[in-house]
């Protein structure tokens, strides 16, 4: 664990129905690193990301952001340094440019040269005056990434930013993520199911299964020598769903 975490989460629980959607006794995310959260569908990854964006309420738990305890959901001021790219980004009525500059306008800031660089790097120059409702899936994710980065956040949260994208768009987005992680003192938290992508990009990694973090640490170590058997099974693609007794409930397990 870093001595200088940007997030410190303790005793976090968020419930739904009969169980806990998230049950995380402790989580620390070091400042300035690219932290990847991996897990299967329905593990609670997107919920955890919204909690870290401080826009989602939790039932129990304590969240510290930059050493200060914050509420979840937090006030606008407390979450201005954090932006998120949603798995299915929402575009608002207007042109691509209108959407790109939305975060800046909400903060009463004017677009600077930084946004022009982003537009070039993400190959969005020809799209700026196009209606945002008419762009393709790959363009949508690129616009969403540029919109989040335009605010020059301290923390960038990415919820499966390349799922269902073609290799060109995936490579472009991964390139910008790497560049942002290297050039800025930015903490990037990447949620993905793609183990190969996490291996390519992450400094630190956590494995989230059924709302619980089963393993976390330096990415190379987690991917090479996972200590938890369930983590090892997930990373090697051997995890299966198994029926729980005669009930209609299923568990993720590596046992046959």
């Amino acid at each position: 664990m870093s001595t200088n975490p940007i997030y410190r989460v303790q005793g976090l629980r968020k419930g739904y129905g009969r169980g806990w959607e998230l049950d995380i006794p402790e989580l620390e995310i070091p400042e300035g690193c690219l932290y990847s959260i991996l897990g299967p569908n329905g593990a609670g990854k997107s919920t955890l990301l919204r909690v870290l964006n401080l826009i989602e309420a939790v039932d129990i738990g304590r969240i510290e952001f930059k050493g200060k305890e914050v509420l979840a959901p937090a006030s606008t001021r407390d979450r201005l340094e954090i932006t998120m790219v949603f798995q299915r980004p929402v575009m608002f009525t207007g042109t691509v440019w209108h959407n790109l500059t939305l975060g800046l306008r909400l903060r009463h800031l004017k677009p600077g040269s930084h946004l022009g660089d982003l537009v070039d790097q993400l190959d969005l120059g020809g799209l700026l005056q196009a209606p945002a409702s008419e762009i393709s899936g790959g363009e949508l994710q690129r616009v969403a990434l540029a919109r989040a980065l335009a605010c020059e956040p301290g923390v960038l949260l990415l919820d499966e930013p390349t799922s269902n994208l073609d290799p060109y768009n995936t490579a472009l987005i991964e390139h910008i993520i790497k560049k942002a992680a290297q050039a800025k003192a930015m903490t990037i938290i990447l949620v993905t199911q793609n183990v190969f992508q996490a291996r390519r990009l992450a400094d630190q990694a956590a494995i989230l299964i059924d709302g619980k973090i089963l393993e976390q640490g330096e990415a190379g170590r987690v991917f090479r020598k996972p200590e938890n058997p369930q983590t090892a099974a997930f990373l090697s693609g051997e995890l299966i769903f198994k029926q729980k007794g005669d009930t209609d409930e299923y568990l993720l397990t590596q046992e046959n």
Binding site: R50, N53, I55, E56, P73, T76, R79, L80, I82, T83, M84, F86, R88, P89, V90, F92, T93, G94, T95, H98, L102, G103, L106, R107, P131, R147, A148, C151, L157
Partner: protein, 215 residues
Amino acid sequence: MTEVLSISLVTLRVTGTATLLAALLGIPAGAMMGIFRFRGRGLISVLLYTGMGLPPVVVGLVVYLFLSKSGVLGDLGWLFTERAMITAQTIIAFPLIAGLTMASVEALEPDLRLQLRSLGATPSQEAGITLYEARSGVIASIVAGFGAVISEVGAAMLVGGNIAGHTRILSTAVVLETRRGNFGLALMLGGLLLALAFTVNLLLLRLQAPLWRRR
């Protein structure tokens, strides 16, 4: 002809003011109902939807009782004036505008407001943009409210009294001329009523298209 013009002007003034007041009250109320979750929200939703079917004559009766000399608001002296008609018609249009605004805000993509918060929107910025994104439904709610009040007779007749040159509007004039057997004039007034409604709705529907796409 001067009388028809006067009736048309009173109609536009009364229904226009009532629609405007109902929109000023109903749009924020509907937006709040659509955005926030709070105790009693379900009951208020049912009351709003019930209010959409309020019979104008019942609204007219209640407003009449309040504004009559022995009523709680009798001292205002509003009975048989345009103000009484505007009050009754605002009550008729309010649930339509609030209820349909609520439904249109609820129908937006669930992640829309989370996305706004994630981009740093304050609660008031979030409400404003949410309402803009729901504008088609909001405009439709105003159209529905206006349609309900321009076509109603019961409340206008009861609290306005259908006084020539003062509180006579197109719908009450149609009833009067039909009773007198002047079917031709009644039909002409009915046509004028439809033409007014058509023109106002045309203008309102122009607002549904986003500014950047309007031609």
